[in-house]
Protein backbone atom coordinates (compact mmCIF):
# COMPACT_ATOMS: atom_id res chain seq x y z
CA UNK A 1 0.00 0.00 0.00
CA UNK A 2 1.58 3.23 -1.12
CA UNK A 3 1.16 6.76 0.01
CA UNK A 4 2.44 8.81 -2.87
CA UNK A 5 3.49 12.44 -2.71
CA UNK A 6 1.93 14.17 -5.70
CA UNK A 7 4.30 16.95 -6.73
CA UNK A 8 1.38 18.96 -8.10
CA UNK A 9 -1.03 18.52 -5.19
CA UNK A 10 1.92 18.88 -2.85
CA UNK A 11 0.73 16.27 -0.39
CA UNK A 12 0.71 12.54 0.28
CA UNK A 13 -2.26 10.77 -1.26
CA UNK A 14 -3.55 7.21 -1.23
CA UNK A 15 -2.42 4.72 -3.85
CA UNK A 16 -6.00 4.23 -5.04
CA UNK A 17 -5.99 7.73 -6.54
CA UNK A 18 -3.06 6.85 -8.83
CA UNK A 19 -2.29 4.62 -11.79
CA UNK A 20 1.20 3.41 -12.69
CA UNK A 21 2.07 3.98 -16.34
CA UNK A 22 5.36 2.17 -16.78
CA UNK A 23 8.91 3.34 -17.21
CA UNK A 24 9.61 7.08 -17.17
CA UNK A 25 11.79 9.17 -19.45
CA UNK A 26 11.11 7.17 -22.62
CA UNK A 27 11.76 9.37 -25.60
CA UNK A 28 9.81 8.78 -28.78
CA UNK A 29 12.16 8.71 -31.76
CA UNK A 30 12.10 12.10 -33.41
CA UNK A 31 11.59 10.60 -36.82
CA UNK A 32 9.82 7.21 -36.64
CA UNK A 33 10.01 6.81 -40.40
CA UNK A 34 13.78 6.78 -40.21
CA UNK A 35 13.94 4.14 -37.46
CA UNK A 36 15.19 0.67 -38.11
CA UNK A 37 12.96 -2.19 -37.00
CA UNK A 38 15.43 -2.69 -34.20
CA UNK A 39 15.14 0.86 -32.91
CA UNK A 40 11.38 0.98 -33.24
CA UNK A 41 10.92 -2.37 -31.48
CA UNK A 42 13.20 -1.21 -28.68
CA UNK A 43 11.16 1.96 -28.30
CA UNK A 44 7.83 0.12 -28.27
CA UNK A 45 8.55 -2.98 -26.23
CA UNK A 46 11.84 -2.98 -24.38
CA UNK A 47 11.75 -1.57 -20.87
CA UNK A 48 14.10 -1.43 -17.94
CA UNK A 49 13.13 -4.02 -15.38
CA UNK A 50 15.67 -3.47 -12.62
CA UNK A 51 15.77 -5.24 -9.33
CA UNK A 52 16.38 -2.02 -7.46
CA UNK A 53 15.89 1.65 -8.21
CA UNK A 54 13.42 2.33 -11.00
CA UNK A 55 12.05 5.55 -12.49
CA UNK A 56 8.37 5.30 -13.28
CA UNK A 57 5.60 7.37 -14.76
CA UNK A 58 2.45 7.64 -12.66
CA UNK A 59 -0.73 9.62 -13.12
CA UNK A 60 -2.78 11.13 -10.32
CA UNK A 61 -5.87 9.74 -12.02
CA UNK A 62 -8.39 10.65 -9.33
CA UNK A 63 -6.93 13.94 -8.24
CA UNK A 64 -5.21 16.57 -10.32
CA UNK A 65 -4.92 14.14 -13.28
CA UNK A 66 -1.32 15.17 -13.91
CA UNK A 67 1.43 12.76 -14.93
CA UNK A 68 4.58 12.80 -12.86
CA UNK A 69 7.61 10.62 -12.12
CA UNK A 70 8.32 8.34 -9.19
CA UNK A 71 11.69 6.89 -8.22
CA UNK A 72 10.95 3.67 -6.43
CA UNK A 73 12.84 0.61 -5.25
CA UNK A 74 11.31 -2.47 -6.83
CA UNK A 75 12.24 -4.83 -4.01
CA UNK A 76 11.60 -2.77 -0.87
CA UNK A 77 8.90 -0.76 -2.71
CA UNK A 78 10.21 2.35 -0.96
CA UNK A 79 9.36 5.52 -2.85
CA UNK A 80 12.56 7.56 -2.88
CA UNK A 81 11.24 10.68 -4.57
CA UNK A 82 8.56 12.02 -6.85
CA UNK A 83 9.19 14.79 -9.33
CA UNK A 84 7.38 16.66 -12.06
CA UNK A 85 7.38 15.88 -15.74
CA UNK A 86 10.36 17.49 -17.41
CA UNK A 87 12.52 17.26 -14.30
CA UNK A 88 15.39 14.85 -13.76
CA UNK A 89 15.64 12.46 -10.81
CA UNK A 90 18.02 13.33 -7.99
CA UNK A 91 18.12 9.75 -6.77
CA UNK A 92 19.49 7.27 -9.29
CA UNK A 93 20.85 3.76 -9.19
CA UNK A 94 24.59 3.36 -8.79
CA UNK A 95 26.24 3.86 -12.15
CA UNK A 96 26.58 0.43 -13.71
CA UNK A 97 29.52 -0.98 -11.81
CA UNK A 98 30.61 -4.51 -12.53
CA UNK A 99 27.20 -5.89 -11.74
CA UNK A 100 28.36 -9.41 -12.30
CA UNK A 101 31.56 -11.26 -11.77
CA UNK A 102 31.84 -11.72 -15.48
CA UNK A 103 35.45 -11.85 -16.56
CA UNK A 104 37.07 -9.39 -18.89
CA UNK A 105 36.99 -11.58 -21.93
CA UNK A 106 33.24 -11.52 -21.84
CA UNK A 107 31.32 -9.88 -24.60
CA UNK A 108 28.81 -7.78 -22.80
CA UNK A 109 28.59 -4.41 -24.46
CA UNK A 110 26.62 -3.66 -27.53
CA UNK A 111 24.71 -6.90 -27.60
CA UNK A 112 20.99 -6.43 -27.88
CA UNK A 113 18.27 -8.97 -28.04
Amino acid sequence: MFQIYCPYCEELREEEEFHPKGQAHIVRPANPEACSDEEWGDYLFFRDNPRGIHHELWVHAVGCRKFFNVTRHTVSYAILETYKIGEQPSVTAEPAVSESTTSTDDVRQGVRA
Partner: protein, 416 residues
Protein backbone atom coordinates in the same frame (compact mmCIF):
# COMPACT_ATOMS: atom_id res chain seq x y z
CA UNK B 1 14.36 -44.68 -7.81
CA UNK B 2 11.90 -46.37 -5.54
CA UNK B 3 8.64 -46.57 -7.52
CA UNK B 4 5.54 -45.33 -5.77
CA UNK B 5 2.50 -47.62 -5.81
CA UNK B 6 -0.40 -48.73 -3.70
CA UNK B 7 1.50 -51.89 -2.83
CA UNK B 8 4.51 -49.83 -1.72
CA UNK B 9 2.28 -47.76 0.54
CA UNK B 10 1.02 -50.91 2.26
CA UNK B 11 4.53 -52.31 2.56
CA UNK B 12 5.90 -49.13 4.13
CA UNK B 13 2.96 -48.99 6.51
CA UNK B 14 4.33 -52.17 8.12
CA UNK B 15 7.49 -50.26 9.09
CA UNK B 16 5.53 -47.15 10.16
CA UNK B 17 6.64 -45.27 7.05
CA UNK B 18 10.11 -44.81 8.50
CA UNK B 19 12.08 -46.17 5.56
CA UNK B 20 10.99 -44.09 2.57
CA UNK B 21 14.05 -43.08 0.63
CA UNK B 22 14.76 -39.40 -0.10
CA UNK B 23 13.07 -38.20 -3.25
CA UNK B 24 16.26 -36.76 -4.68
CA UNK B 25 19.96 -36.49 -3.91
CA UNK B 26 21.74 -33.36 -2.75
CA UNK B 27 24.86 -33.53 -4.94
CA UNK B 28 27.92 -31.30 -4.91
CA UNK B 29 28.34 -29.39 -8.16
CA UNK B 30 30.61 -30.92 -10.75
CA UNK B 31 33.00 -28.68 -12.70
CA UNK B 32 31.34 -29.39 -15.98
CA UNK B 33 27.99 -30.45 -17.41
CA UNK B 34 26.56 -30.84 -20.89
CA UNK B 35 23.65 -28.55 -20.07
CA UNK B 36 22.92 -26.18 -17.20
CA UNK B 37 19.35 -25.17 -16.43
CA UNK B 38 19.18 -21.98 -14.39
CA UNK B 39 16.06 -22.00 -12.25
CA UNK B 40 14.62 -24.95 -10.36
CA UNK B 41 10.94 -24.21 -10.68
CA UNK B 42 8.41 -26.35 -12.51
CA UNK B 43 9.53 -25.30 -15.99
CA UNK B 44 13.23 -25.77 -15.24
CA UNK B 45 12.75 -29.18 -13.65
CA UNK B 46 10.49 -30.28 -16.49
CA UNK B 47 13.14 -29.17 -18.97
CA UNK B 48 15.79 -31.20 -17.16
CA UNK B 49 13.53 -34.23 -17.00
CA UNK B 50 12.68 -34.21 -20.70
CA UNK B 51 16.32 -33.58 -21.62
CA UNK B 52 17.25 -36.76 -19.81
CA UNK B 53 14.26 -38.84 -20.78
CA UNK B 54 13.63 -37.84 -24.40
CA UNK B 55 17.09 -36.84 -25.52
CA UNK B 56 19.36 -39.00 -23.38
CA UNK B 57 21.23 -35.96 -22.06
CA UNK B 58 21.65 -36.81 -18.40
CA UNK B 59 24.79 -34.84 -17.55
CA UNK B 60 22.61 -31.90 -16.58
CA UNK B 61 22.61 -29.50 -13.62
CA UNK B 62 19.60 -27.56 -12.41
CA UNK B 63 20.91 -24.51 -10.56
CA UNK B 64 18.45 -23.00 -8.11
CA UNK B 65 19.21 -20.07 -5.82
CA UNK B 66 16.59 -21.07 -3.26
CA UNK B 67 14.79 -24.37 -3.03
CA UNK B 68 13.07 -26.40 -5.74
CA UNK B 69 9.67 -25.09 -6.75
CA UNK B 70 9.92 -22.24 -4.27
CA UNK B 71 9.04 -19.38 -6.62
CA UNK B 72 5.94 -19.01 -8.73
CA UNK B 73 5.47 -22.79 -8.80
CA UNK B 74 4.59 -22.56 -5.12
CA UNK B 75 2.58 -19.38 -5.51
CA UNK B 76 0.13 -19.85 -8.35
CA UNK B 77 -3.53 -20.76 -8.50
CA UNK B 78 -2.89 -24.05 -10.35
CA UNK B 79 -5.28 -23.57 -13.25
CA UNK B 80 -4.57 -25.65 -16.35
CA UNK B 81 -6.32 -24.94 -19.66
CA UNK B 82 -5.46 -24.54 -23.32
CA UNK B 83 -8.24 -22.44 -24.86
CA UNK B 84 -5.99 -19.82 -26.45
CA UNK B 85 -7.00 -17.86 -29.51
CA UNK B 86 -4.05 -17.94 -31.89
CA UNK B 87 -2.71 -21.07 -33.56
CA UNK B 88 0.79 -20.62 -32.16
CA UNK B 89 -0.33 -20.27 -28.55
CA UNK B 90 -3.03 -22.92 -28.86
CA UNK B 91 -0.43 -25.39 -30.17
CA UNK B 92 1.86 -24.69 -27.24
CA UNK B 93 -0.75 -24.92 -24.50
CA UNK B 94 -2.53 -27.89 -26.06
CA UNK B 95 0.80 -29.70 -26.34
CA UNK B 96 1.10 -29.08 -22.65
CA UNK B 97 -2.45 -30.24 -21.94
CA UNK B 98 -1.77 -33.57 -23.64
CA UNK B 99 1.31 -34.07 -21.48
CA UNK B 100 -0.69 -33.18 -18.34
CA UNK B 101 -3.11 -35.95 -19.16
CA UNK B 102 -0.44 -38.63 -18.83
CA UNK B 103 1.87 -36.88 -16.41
CA UNK B 104 1.21 -38.71 -13.16
CA UNK B 105 1.89 -42.06 -14.85
CA UNK B 106 4.87 -40.73 -16.76
CA UNK B 107 6.77 -39.46 -13.72
CA UNK B 108 5.27 -41.96 -11.24
CA UNK B 109 4.11 -39.13 -9.04
CA UNK B 110 0.53 -38.14 -8.36
CA UNK B 111 0.28 -34.53 -9.50
CA UNK B 112 -3.43 -34.63 -8.68
CA UNK B 113 -4.37 -33.36 -12.13
CA UNK B 114 -8.12 -32.93 -11.94
CA UNK B 115 -9.95 -32.19 -15.19
CA UNK B 116 -12.86 -30.42 -13.59
CA UNK B 117 -13.38 -27.94 -16.41
CA UNK B 118 -12.87 -24.20 -16.67
CA UNK B 119 -15.55 -21.60 -17.34
CA UNK B 120 -14.66 -18.20 -18.80
CA UNK B 121 -17.71 -16.04 -18.16
CA UNK B 122 -19.09 -13.46 -20.54
CA UNK B 123 -20.99 -10.49 -19.14
CA UNK B 124 -21.50 -8.31 -22.19
CA UNK B 125 -22.39 -8.84 -25.83
CA UNK B 126 -18.80 -8.07 -26.72
CA UNK B 127 -17.61 -10.71 -24.24
CA UNK B 128 -19.91 -13.24 -25.89
CA UNK B 129 -18.69 -12.35 -29.38
CA UNK B 130 -15.09 -12.75 -28.22
CA UNK B 131 -15.95 -16.05 -26.56
CA UNK B 132 -17.58 -17.36 -29.73
CA UNK B 133 -14.61 -16.34 -31.79
CA UNK B 134 -12.21 -17.99 -29.40
CA UNK B 135 -14.24 -21.18 -29.09
CA UNK B 136 -14.44 -21.48 -32.87
CA UNK B 137 -10.71 -20.95 -33.15
CA UNK B 138 -10.13 -23.58 -30.43
CA UNK B 139 -12.28 -26.14 -32.21
CA UNK B 140 -10.42 -25.62 -35.47
CA UNK B 141 -7.27 -26.39 -33.49
CA UNK B 142 -8.76 -29.56 -32.06
CA UNK B 143 -9.21 -28.14 -28.56
CA UNK B 144 -12.37 -29.09 -26.72
CA UNK B 145 -14.26 -25.90 -26.08
CA UNK B 146 -17.87 -24.87 -26.23
CA UNK B 147 -20.10 -21.86 -25.77
CA UNK B 148 -22.67 -22.03 -22.99
CA UNK B 149 -25.59 -19.73 -22.37
CA UNK B 150 -26.50 -18.49 -18.91
CA UNK B 151 -28.68 -21.54 -18.19
CA UNK B 152 -25.87 -23.85 -19.16
CA UNK B 153 -23.53 -22.00 -16.81
CA UNK B 154 -26.05 -22.15 -14.00
CA UNK B 155 -26.36 -25.94 -14.40
CA UNK B 156 -22.61 -26.37 -13.96
CA UNK B 157 -22.26 -23.86 -11.12
CA UNK B 158 -25.52 -23.60 -9.18
CA UNK B 159 -24.04 -21.18 -6.65
CA UNK B 160 -23.03 -18.60 -9.27
CA UNK B 161 -25.29 -15.54 -9.38
CA UNK B 162 -26.69 -15.84 -12.91
CA UNK B 163 -29.73 -13.70 -12.19
CA UNK B 164 -30.64 -10.68 -14.24
CA UNK B 165 -30.32 -8.61 -11.10
CA UNK B 166 -26.56 -8.99 -10.91
CA UNK B 167 -24.55 -5.84 -11.53
CA UNK B 168 -22.82 -7.66 -14.40
CA UNK B 169 -25.30 -10.36 -15.41
CA UNK B 170 -23.79 -13.58 -16.72
CA UNK B 171 -24.72 -13.94 -20.37
CA UNK B 172 -22.83 -17.14 -21.02
CA UNK B 173 -19.37 -18.64 -20.96
CA UNK B 174 -16.79 -20.64 -22.78
CA UNK B 175 -16.34 -24.07 -21.27
CA UNK B 176 -13.32 -26.32 -21.61
CA UNK B 177 -14.15 -29.65 -19.95
CA UNK B 178 -10.59 -31.04 -20.19
CA UNK B 179 -9.17 -28.08 -18.32
CA UNK B 180 -8.79 -28.11 -14.58
CA UNK B 181 -6.29 -27.83 -11.78
CA UNK B 182 -3.23 -29.72 -10.55
CA UNK B 183 -1.26 -29.82 -7.34
CA UNK B 184 1.44 -27.23 -7.86
CA UNK B 185 4.07 -28.54 -5.41
CA UNK B 186 3.61 -32.10 -6.59
CA UNK B 187 4.45 -31.04 -10.13
CA UNK B 188 7.80 -29.60 -9.06
CA UNK B 189 8.56 -32.48 -6.74
CA UNK B 190 7.50 -35.12 -9.25
CA UNK B 191 9.67 -33.67 -12.01
CA UNK B 192 12.56 -33.23 -9.57
CA UNK B 193 12.39 -36.83 -8.42
CA UNK B 194 12.07 -38.18 -11.94
CA UNK B 195 14.92 -36.01 -13.25
CA UNK B 196 17.14 -36.93 -10.31
CA UNK B 197 16.49 -40.62 -10.95
CA UNK B 198 17.76 -40.17 -14.51
CA UNK B 199 21.00 -38.63 -13.25
CA UNK B 200 20.28 -34.90 -13.26
CA UNK B 201 22.05 -32.95 -10.49
CA UNK B 202 19.64 -30.67 -8.63
CA UNK B 203 21.79 -27.94 -7.04
CA UNK B 204 19.80 -25.96 -4.50
CA UNK B 205 21.03 -22.85 -2.69
CA UNK B 206 23.20 -22.16 -5.71
CA UNK B 207 22.81 -18.68 -7.08
CA UNK B 208 24.02 -17.67 -10.52
CA UNK B 209 25.97 -14.43 -10.25
CA UNK B 210 27.20 -14.11 -13.80
CA UNK B 211 27.77 -15.80 -17.13
CA UNK B 212 31.07 -16.88 -18.63
CA UNK B 213 30.98 -15.70 -22.21
CA UNK B 214 33.81 -15.80 -24.75
CA UNK B 215 33.54 -14.63 -28.37
CA UNK B 216 29.78 -14.46 -28.08
CA UNK B 217 29.53 -18.05 -26.89
CA UNK B 218 28.51 -18.94 -23.36
CA UNK B 219 30.64 -21.56 -21.62
CA UNK B 220 29.53 -21.50 -18.02
CA UNK B 221 28.13 -19.66 -15.05
CA UNK B 222 29.56 -18.10 -11.95
CA UNK B 223 27.74 -19.17 -8.82
CA UNK B 224 28.12 -18.67 -5.12
CA UNK B 225 29.40 -22.26 -5.03
CA UNK B 226 32.05 -21.77 -7.67
CA UNK B 227 32.09 -21.79 -11.45
CA UNK B 228 30.22 -24.43 -13.37
CA UNK B 229 30.84 -24.95 -17.05
CA UNK B 230 28.57 -26.00 -19.88
CA UNK B 231 28.29 -25.04 -23.54
CA UNK B 232 24.50 -24.99 -23.43
CA UNK B 233 22.60 -23.04 -20.80
CA UNK B 234 18.86 -22.61 -20.48
CA UNK B 235 17.50 -19.86 -18.24
CA UNK B 236 14.07 -20.56 -16.82
CA UNK B 237 13.80 -18.01 -14.05
CA UNK B 238 10.40 -16.33 -14.46
CA UNK B 239 10.39 -12.97 -12.69
CA UNK B 240 14.17 -12.78 -12.45
CA UNK B 241 14.81 -13.32 -16.17
CA UNK B 242 15.42 -9.64 -16.79
CA UNK B 243 18.14 -9.61 -14.16
CA UNK B 244 19.84 -12.65 -15.74
CA UNK B 245 19.57 -11.17 -19.22
CA UNK B 246 21.30 -8.05 -17.94
CA UNK B 247 24.13 -10.20 -16.61
CA UNK B 248 24.50 -11.68 -20.08
CA UNK B 249 24.50 -8.23 -21.65
CA UNK B 250 21.17 -7.94 -23.43
CA UNK B 251 17.64 -6.79 -22.67
CA UNK B 252 14.35 -8.62 -22.65
CA UNK B 253 10.98 -7.00 -23.32
CA UNK B 254 9.76 -8.05 -19.89
CA UNK B 255 8.38 -6.27 -16.90
CA UNK B 256 8.11 -8.06 -13.57
CA UNK B 257 4.93 -7.39 -11.65
CA UNK B 258 3.51 -8.65 -8.36
CA UNK B 259 0.59 -11.03 -8.87
CA UNK B 260 -1.43 -11.81 -5.80
CA UNK B 261 -3.63 -14.71 -4.81
CA UNK B 262 -5.47 -15.70 -1.68
CA UNK B 263 -6.99 -18.77 -0.09
CA UNK B 264 -9.91 -18.96 2.28
CA UNK B 265 -10.55 -21.14 5.25
CA UNK B 266 -11.39 -24.72 4.18
CA UNK B 267 -15.03 -25.32 3.28
CA UNK B 268 -17.10 -28.40 2.47
CA UNK B 269 -17.03 -29.16 -1.28
CA UNK B 270 -19.14 -26.48 -2.92
CA UNK B 271 -17.43 -25.52 -6.19
CA UNK B 272 -16.30 -28.40 -8.42
CA UNK B 273 -15.00 -26.41 -11.34
CA UNK B 274 -12.93 -23.32 -12.11
CA UNK B 275 -14.76 -20.04 -12.75
CA UNK B 276 -12.98 -17.11 -14.36
CA UNK B 277 -14.33 -13.74 -15.35
CA UNK B 278 -12.29 -11.26 -17.35
CA UNK B 279 -14.97 -8.64 -17.02
CA UNK B 280 -15.67 -8.68 -13.29
CA UNK B 281 -12.00 -9.53 -12.98
CA UNK B 282 -11.48 -12.47 -10.70
CA UNK B 283 -11.21 -16.22 -10.76
CA UNK B 284 -11.87 -18.93 -8.24
CA UNK B 285 -11.65 -22.65 -7.69
CA UNK B 286 -11.80 -24.92 -4.67
CA UNK B 287 -8.79 -27.01 -3.77
CA UNK B 288 -9.03 -30.64 -2.73
CA UNK B 289 -8.38 -29.50 0.82
CA UNK B 290 -11.46 -27.29 0.64
CA UNK B 291 -9.95 -23.80 0.47
CA UNK B 292 -11.25 -21.39 -2.10
CA UNK B 293 -8.29 -20.36 -4.26
CA UNK B 294 -8.79 -16.85 -5.56
CA UNK B 295 -6.83 -14.61 -7.85
CA UNK B 296 -7.13 -11.65 -10.17
CA UNK B 297 -4.94 -9.27 -12.09
CA UNK B 298 -1.44 -8.03 -11.48
CA UNK B 299 -0.53 -4.91 -9.57
CA UNK B 300 0.22 -2.35 -12.23
CA UNK B 301 3.70 -1.35 -11.12
CA UNK B 302 6.99 -3.26 -11.41
CA UNK B 303 7.96 -5.15 -8.28
CA UNK B 304 10.14 -7.98 -7.09
CA UNK B 305 8.75 -7.91 -3.56
CA UNK B 306 6.50 -11.02 -3.71
CA UNK B 307 3.72 -8.99 -2.16
CA UNK B 308 1.17 -6.61 -3.54
CA UNK B 309 -1.18 -3.82 -2.72
CA UNK B 310 -4.22 -3.97 -0.52
CA UNK B 311 -6.51 -2.25 -3.07
CA UNK B 312 -5.84 -5.14 -5.46
CA UNK B 313 -6.92 -7.65 -2.83
CA UNK B 314 -10.04 -5.64 -2.15
CA UNK B 315 -10.83 -5.40 -5.84
CA UNK B 316 -10.37 -9.15 -6.27
CA UNK B 317 -12.67 -10.03 -3.40
CA UNK B 318 -15.31 -7.58 -4.58
CA UNK B 319 -15.29 -9.38 -7.92
CA UNK B 320 -15.68 -12.77 -6.26
CA UNK B 321 -18.52 -11.62 -4.00
CA UNK B 322 -20.16 -10.02 -7.02
CA UNK B 323 -20.21 -13.39 -8.76
CA UNK B 324 -20.76 -15.54 -5.66
CA UNK B 325 -22.78 -13.63 -3.05
CA UNK B 326 -22.81 -16.89 -1.07
CA UNK B 327 -19.09 -16.40 -0.32
CA UNK B 328 -19.53 -12.95 1.19
CA UNK B 329 -18.88 -14.18 4.73
CA UNK B 330 -16.03 -16.57 3.98
CA UNK B 331 -12.83 -15.60 5.73
CA UNK B 332 -9.53 -15.48 3.92
CA UNK B 333 -6.66 -17.39 5.48
CA UNK B 334 -3.63 -16.34 3.51
CA UNK B 335 -2.62 -13.92 0.82
CA UNK B 336 0.64 -13.91 -1.11
CA UNK B 337 2.31 -12.52 -4.20
CA UNK B 338 4.51 -13.95 -6.89
CA UNK B 339 6.72 -12.16 -9.42
CA UNK B 340 5.39 -12.56 -12.92
CA UNK B 341 7.42 -11.59 -15.95
CA UNK B 342 4.95 -10.11 -18.39
CA UNK B 343 5.52 -9.73 -22.11
CA UNK B 344 3.96 -6.98 -24.22
CA UNK B 345 1.86 -9.57 -26.12
CA UNK B 346 0.98 -11.80 -23.13
CA UNK B 347 2.86 -14.72 -24.68
CA UNK B 348 6.08 -16.30 -23.44
CA UNK B 349 9.58 -16.06 -24.82
CA UNK B 350 11.18 -19.37 -25.80
CA UNK B 351 14.20 -18.26 -27.66
CA UNK B 352 17.81 -18.22 -28.56
CA UNK B 353 19.61 -15.07 -27.50
CA UNK B 354 22.39 -12.92 -28.93
CA UNK B 355 24.77 -15.08 -26.87
CA UNK B 356 25.41 -18.43 -28.55
CA UNK B 357 24.47 -21.43 -26.44
CA UNK B 358 22.36 -19.32 -24.09
CA UNK B 359 18.61 -19.94 -24.31
CA UNK B 360 15.81 -18.22 -22.44
CA UNK B 361 12.42 -19.59 -21.45
CA UNK B 362 10.53 -16.78 -19.74
CA UNK B 363 7.78 -14.22 -20.05
CA UNK B 364 4.99 -16.59 -19.08
CA UNK B 365 3.36 -13.74 -17.25
CA UNK B 366 0.43 -14.74 -15.13
CA UNK B 367 -0.12 -18.15 -16.70
CA UNK B 368 3.01 -20.24 -16.66
CA UNK B 369 1.85 -23.09 -14.45
CA UNK B 370 -0.50 -24.60 -17.02
CA UNK B 371 2.32 -24.77 -19.52
CA UNK B 372 4.84 -26.51 -17.26
CA UNK B 373 5.05 -29.88 -19.08
CA UNK B 374 4.77 -28.45 -22.61
CA UNK B 375 7.23 -25.67 -21.94
CA UNK B 376 9.77 -28.12 -20.49
CA UNK B 377 9.19 -30.55 -23.34
CA UNK B 378 9.75 -28.14 -26.22
CA UNK B 379 12.51 -26.25 -24.44
CA UNK B 380 14.39 -29.49 -23.78
CA UNK B 381 14.12 -30.39 -27.45
CA UNK B 382 15.45 -26.95 -28.38
CA UNK B 383 18.41 -27.24 -26.00
CA UNK B 384 19.20 -30.74 -27.20
CA UNK B 385 19.14 -29.84 -30.90
CA UNK B 386 20.47 -26.28 -30.64
CA UNK B 387 17.49 -25.19 -32.75
CA UNK B 388 14.12 -24.08 -31.49
CA UNK B 389 11.43 -26.75 -31.54
CA UNK B 390 8.72 -25.90 -34.14
CA UNK B 391 6.15 -25.26 -31.40
CA UNK B 392 8.56 -22.90 -29.64
CA UNK B 393 9.81 -21.13 -32.76
CA UNK B 394 7.04 -18.48 -32.97
CA UNK B 395 7.95 -17.31 -29.47
CA UNK B 396 11.38 -15.98 -30.36
CA UNK B 397 12.58 -12.62 -29.00
CA UNK B 398 12.86 -11.54 -32.63
CA UNK B 399 9.12 -11.03 -32.78
CA UNK B 400 9.42 -7.75 -30.89
CA UNK B 401 11.47 -6.36 -33.74
CA UNK B 402 9.77 -8.11 -36.63
CA UNK B 403 6.29 -7.31 -35.35
CA UNK B 404 5.07 -10.93 -35.51
CA UNK B 405 3.47 -10.75 -32.07
CA UNK B 406 1.11 -13.43 -30.81
CA UNK B 407 -1.44 -11.25 -29.08
CA UNK B 408 -3.10 -13.33 -26.39
CA UNK B 409 -4.33 -10.54 -24.14
CA UNK B 410 -7.89 -11.72 -24.68
CA UNK B 411 -7.30 -15.34 -23.74
CA UNK B 412 -4.78 -14.42 -21.09
CA UNK B 413 -7.24 -11.95 -19.67
CA UNK B 414 -7.62 -11.84 -15.98
CA UNK B 415 -5.74 -14.89 -14.99
CA UNK B 416 -4.10 -16.30 -17.99
Amino acid sequence: MQRYSGFGLVKHALSHHEHWERQWRNPTPKKQYDVIIVGGGGHGLATAYYLAKEHGITNVAVVEKGWLGGGNTARNTTIVRSNYLWDEAAALYEHSMKLWEGLSQDINYNVMFSQRGVLNLGHTLQDMRDIQRRVNANRLNGIDSEVLDADGVQKIVPILDCSKRARYPVMGASWQPRAGVARHDAVAWGYARAADALGVDLLQNTEVTGFKIRDGQVYGVHTNRGDIEAKTIGCVTAGNSGVLAKMAGFRLPLESHPLQALVSEPLKPILDTVVMSNHVHGYISQSDKGDLVIGAGIDGYNGYGQRGSFPTVEHTLQAIVEMFPIFSRVRMNRQWGGIVDTCPDACPILSKTPVKGLFFNCGWGTGGFKATPGSGHVFAASLAKGEMHPIAAPFSIDRFHSGALVDEHGAAGVAH
